[in-house]
């Protein structure tokens, strides 16, 4: 292939509005410089939130899980809702970095690092919730298969043990994937840093030099990891959905849960990517990297997944009616018109109806509109899980055992604190690791060619 052909090929890609490799390094590594006042304020807020989070949790451990509003019959509430919410959030990162990588989607480079970081931190957050919600957290390690004195192993028939495996695997693989992709960029940071920072990057870049051998195996390994991460991401949310679908609770026990949850996860994840990318782009001056084209692509993904979840909602209603079983029908009737009708309508509005605006190109290309819609998506997707969990449990088979649940202050503290916990790590990430994939960005920037200079001169 001639260099001219090469250039021509590159030119068809939706390039970011940057010209040179050096510009990429300069713009991205600039973010890692001294943090400004705004960052410190945000970081302070996040740290406070983390204190609330841990404080609430320790209070709960000290007093008992009774400080939550949970009861019989609603044994799962805000904690599991938030767990599923964060697991769902995690999915977009892997989707963008792995699936879109395999499908060669040309717009992923600019956003994939941030969304992958989001994945890791979201899994870190989600992973805490099963611990938060169990009655005896000090015995939670019993879910892990280890040879105890009586050789009693976990029950591998339980979806919760599947969860342990799925979430652990997901965290490990996404963290590895994330870190592996960062190594060349850490080397770039190392080459420009000084002092302590340089030492730090020297260590964590593992002595990456960008040699042909390194790149060769790296790109192959990256493909294989992406190939593993793709079924993983689909499996993880399927497994999470089976926490519900494997139970016989009316409103949970449906076969559509796995695809429905995966679509919902991607939907919520992309929503949060937009929510995070909009301010990041502004604060770090990355407008040239996160262009309107990128946002439009994400908006289309939102529209697609929103349609899938709306379809899933309607399918659920239809099947509940079609099943003819009173508990099943009752459960969904209760969902729409019962005590928690408002939660259901928040869900339908935020996830089903508001995203319909994305059919309009003008909305898709308006950063402000997308930001607002993404907030709706975040809220709606949290409520989706709330609706599934709480309304189903509150209205099960035995009419006598129907009950209501109201979250307690501690639960709200932990819910809000989890956002702080996530934000805490994300803010650290933006200052310590290159938030845009430098090496991959360069793949969509025209390479420096002799010819180009000749033409220019």
């Amino acid at each position: 292939m001639t260099t001219a052909e090469l250039r021509q090929q590159r030119g068809t890609l939706p390039n970011p509005d940057v010209g040179t490799y050096e510009a990429v390094n300069r713009d991205v590594l600039k973010v890692l410089s001294r943090p400004g006042k705004g960052w410190w304020i945000l970081f302070g807020m996040a740290a406070t939130g983390v204190a609330v989070f841990l404080g609430s949790w320790f209070w709960q451990i000290y007093k008992g899980i009774g400080v939550s509003g949970l009861n019989a019959p609603v044994g799962w509430g805000v904690y599991i809702t938030t767990f599923v919410f964060w697991v769902g959030i995690a999915h977009s990162g892997t989707l963008i970095s792995a699936i879109l990588f395999l499908f060669r989607a040309p717009w992923r480079q600019a956003i994939y690092r941030a969304s992958e970081a989001m994945t890791v931190f979201a899994v870190m957050t989600a992973g805490l919730f099963p611990l938060i919600h169990v009655g005896r957290v000090w015995h939670a390690y019993w879910l892990i298969p280890y040879p105890n004195s009586r050789f009693l192993w976990p029950n591998f028939r339980s979806p919760l043990v599947w969860d342990v495996f799925a979430i652990t695997t997901y965290f490990t693989v996404s963290a590895v994937f994330f870190y592996l992709g960062t190594i060349p960029d850490l080397a770039a940071a190392r080459d420009q840093a000084r002092g302590l920072r340089k030492k730090f990057y020297q260590i964590i870049s593992l002595g990456w030099r960008g040699t042909d051998r390194e790149w060769h195996h790296f790109s192959k390994a990256y493909i294989y990891l992406a190939a593993l991460a793709t079924p993983l991401v689909l499996s993880v949310h399927s497994v999470v959905s089976w926490d519900f679908a494997m139970a016989i609770v009316p409103g949970w026990h449906t076969t559509i849960f796995a695809p429905y949850f995966v679509a919902g996860a991607i939907f919520s994840g992309v929503g949060l990517v937009i929510t995070l990318a909009v301010p990041m782009r502004k604060f770090f001056g990355l407008e040239d990297y996160l262009t309107v084209k990128h946002f439009e692509a994400m908006a289309k993904l939102c529209l697609l997944t929103s349609s899938i979840v709306l379809y899933a909602y309607l399918t659920e209603y239809f099947l509940a009616w079609y099943s003819g079983e009173p508990p099943e029908r009752g459960s969904f009737w209760n969902r729409v018109f019962g005590h928690y009708w408002w939660a259901n309508w928040i869900m339908l509005t935020c996830n089903g109806f508001v995203p319909l605006m994305l059919w309009f190109k003008r909305v898709r290309r308006s950063i402000a509109a997308l930001f607002v819609i993404s907030i709706f998506i975040n809220i709606g997707m949290w409520f989706e899980r709330f609706v599934i969990i709480v309304t189903s449990l509150s209205h099960e088979y035995e009419p006598w055992a129907w009950g209501l649940y109201r979250p307690s202050v501690v639960e709200m503290g932990i819910l809000l604190g989890s956002f702080a916990w996530f934000g805490f790590w994300f803010l650290l990430f933006t200052r310590l690791l290159p938030p845009v994939a430098i090496a991959e960005m360069k793949e969509v920037v025209p390479p420096p060619m002799r010819g180009s200079e000749e033409a220019a001169t």
Partner: protein, 181 residues
């Protein structure tokens, strides 16, 4: 850090190129001249450089991936089966040997083992982590430039230098002794 491994009686040349095509061409020329002991540096996984310039073909990493994934699947399935047979406890009237449930575990183990094994494969093949002192390296190679480093026996050193200079490197550095490539 470990000092870099020197090669007695060799000379090393580091050429920094600003252009991709120059780098590719330089590599091709070196190969044509029968040089094998050289390596290229790039700030990005440039496939043209790797495939055209250096003619790198298959990576053995995939073997690690496959072996890891299969080991994982087998381990997951065997482990769940063994533990439930070892102490058979009936739950919910389900069979002790509950295949569908164990498939989930086996699948997750396959992914986990496969991914970790891939990373190990990468590290082994790419020589990471590389704790050697970076002598034959230029910080610009992570920025906007490409590099080629050649180690050649003293006898052929001058030809190498000639070839490199022919592609107008932005910088050409010469080491009195070569380093292992």
């Amino acid at each position: 850090m470990i000092p870099a491994k020197r090669r007695q009686g060799h000379r090393g040349f580091f050429a920094l190129f600003e252009h991709l095509d120059s780098t590719i061409d330089a590599c091709k020329a070196l190969r044509a001249a029968g040089h094998k002991g050289f390596r290229a540096y790039a700030p990005l996984p440039e496939h043209h450089l790797l495939e055209e310039g250096l003619a790198l073909k298959h990576s053995p990493v995939r073997v690690f991936t496959l072996a890891g994934a299969m080991t994982g699947a087998a381990t997951g399935f065997a482990f769940t089966t063994w533990t439930s047979m070892d102490w058979p406890l009936v739950t919910g009237g389900k069979p002790i040997f509950s295949i569908p449930a164990y498939v989930v575990i086996a699948f997750e183990c396959a992914i986990l083992f496969g991914a970790l094994s891939t990373v190990i494969g990468l590290f082994i093949n790419a020589g990471l982590p590389n704790l050697r002192r970076m002598v034959a390296y230029h910080p610009e190679c992570s920025n906007g430039s490409f590099g080629v480093y050649v180690t050649a026996p003293a006898a052929r050193a001058d030809t190498v230098k000639e070839i490199l200079e022919g592609f107008k490197p932005a910088e050409l550095r010469e080491d009195p002794e070569g380093f292992d490539v």
